[in-house]
């Protein structure tokens, strides 16, 4: 029994690329059906084009780093530091250290620049605010906790890759505006080293457990924040 036009239009609107034999036959059963099918496919092409938003650069590479955070993977990485004076302003691409870490990043400086350019700015525009409870929940997976004073100013928190495995990306709402912090549980840095790239400055901080990078428009305003993070980002009891 052949399909009527009304039923055909319904199927066409629901699944225009259906390979059902009866439907395919109906597509060529009359000029009216053919025209309807042709128009539907033209609309479908536009719909497919409209929905195919490009993926952000680095998306797949970022996903691939997740599997490198396995315990056996992170244990193999050893820091190899050759030379660098502390408190050095390092321009992008002129880092004086060679580290053996993630093959994607030759140095912690390269990682910071790469990471910040990936989603540093976009995350600061995020409208959703995480709660202090969210902050503690995320940090606790890395056996760390934040003091209430620090947790209260964290606007956004999420996991992120670091040179040595899983870390945390935070946006702190400070008096001078939003500041980005990357917490790196297993990465060693030179405490106090600063670097500048694009239109931001960063300072590296050795913590009681792990390290952090503080990134914002002006590193000279970081001193109190640096102290707050050092005093407030602490190992969970029993994990020190």
């Amino acid at each position: 029994m052949s399909m009527n036009f009304s039923e055909f239009k319904r199927l066409l609107g629901a699944e225009p690329r259906s390979d059902d034999p009866e439907f395919r036959r109906a597509c060529h059963s009359s000029p009216e059906f053919e025209r309807e099918a042709r128009d539907a496919l033209r609309f479908e092409e536009k719909l497919e084009h409209a929905l195919a938003v490009p993926e952000p650069s680095g998306l797949i590479e970022d996903l691939l780093t997740i599997s490198e955070q396995s315990p056996s993977g992170s244990g193999n990485r050893r820091l190899l530091q050759y030379a660098l004076a502390a408190s050095l302003f390092v321009a992008v691409g002129a880092a004086g250290i060679v580290w053996k870490m993630n093959p994607s990043w030759d140095s912690v400086e390269e990682y910071l620049v790469d990471h910040y350019r990936h989603d540093g700015v976009s995350l600061m525009t995020r409208t959703q605010s995480d709660t202090a409870e969210d902050v503690q929940a995320v940090l606790s997976e890395l056996s760390i906790q934040a003091s209430p004073q620090l947790a209260d100013i964290v606007g956004v928190i999420k996991y992120c890759p670091t040179p040595d495995g899983k870390g945390v990306h935070m946006i702190l709402n400070t008096d001078t505006g939003p500041v980005t912090v990357f917490y790196m549980p297993d990465t060693e840095v030179i405490d106090g080293e600063t670097l500048a790239f694009d239109d931001v400055e960063a300072v590296l901080v050795e913590l009681q457990s792990g390290s952090a990078a503080i990134i914002g428009p002006d590193a000279t305003t970081f001193s109190s924040l640096q102290a707050l993070i050092y005093d407030s980002l602490l190992p969970l009891p029993g994990n020190s």
Binding site: G13, A14, A50, V53, E55, S67, T127, Q128
Partner: protein
């Protein structure tokens, strides 16, 4: 998968095969570039932790989508941000289109975002993820007939929106 290297290979295959589709799906359900990236990253983090539970490689895509939808519901559903990033996200890809085609795309995208979630989500599953009606019905736990109705209505609403917002005259000339 017994070895760590095997586990990594399996995971990397999932990232390379489905990462882009998941991002697009996430982009259209949460409506924000940065959040979509977060959502995909969280999905793969959870997938990595639970990878050993994935026994059938053919089920990988639907498994990932289930994780992503659950994560979206948990994290974002109560507060969906405004859809502000799309022009920025697609503008570089559209330079090959004629101005009127660009306008058409913009209207179509706005129409997609205006669709009620119950119409938009099946449409995304079908067009972005390549799901059949049966697969959509299983993912959304509704009947196949209901899926077909929602897909039909989604497309009809988009065509209506296109006619209303951008073009007058015969819809067949537009498409």
């Amino acid at each position: 998968m017994n070895t760590e290297a095997g586990r990594q290979a399996k995971f990397n295959q999932l990232a390379q095969s489905y990462g882009t589709d998941l991002y697009r799906y996430a982009m259209w359900i949460c409506g924000n570039d940065a959040l979509a990236k977060d959502l995909v990253q969280e999905t793969y983090l959870r997938a990595w932790k639970a990878l050993d539970r994935l026994k059938d490689p053919k089920a990988a895509k639907s498994w990932l989508i289930t994780i992503l939808r659950r994560e979206f519901a948990r994290t974002f559903e109560r507060k969906v941000p405004k859809f502000t990033d799309l022009d920025k996200v697609v503008v570089t890809e559209e330079s090959e289109l004629e101005p009127d085609e660009q306008t058409e795309m913009k209207i179509l995208r706005q129409g997609i975002m205006k669709l009620a979630p119950k119409y938009r989500e099946p449409l995304l599953m079908q067009v972005v993820l390549g799901y059949s009606c049966k697969e959509i019905s299983e993912a959304l736990d509704i009947s196949k007939s209901a899926v077909m109705t929602q897909l039909f209505r989604a497309r009809e609403q988009l065509k209506t929106q296109m006619r209303k917002d951008g073009v007058t005259g015969n819809v067949h000339e537009l498409f």
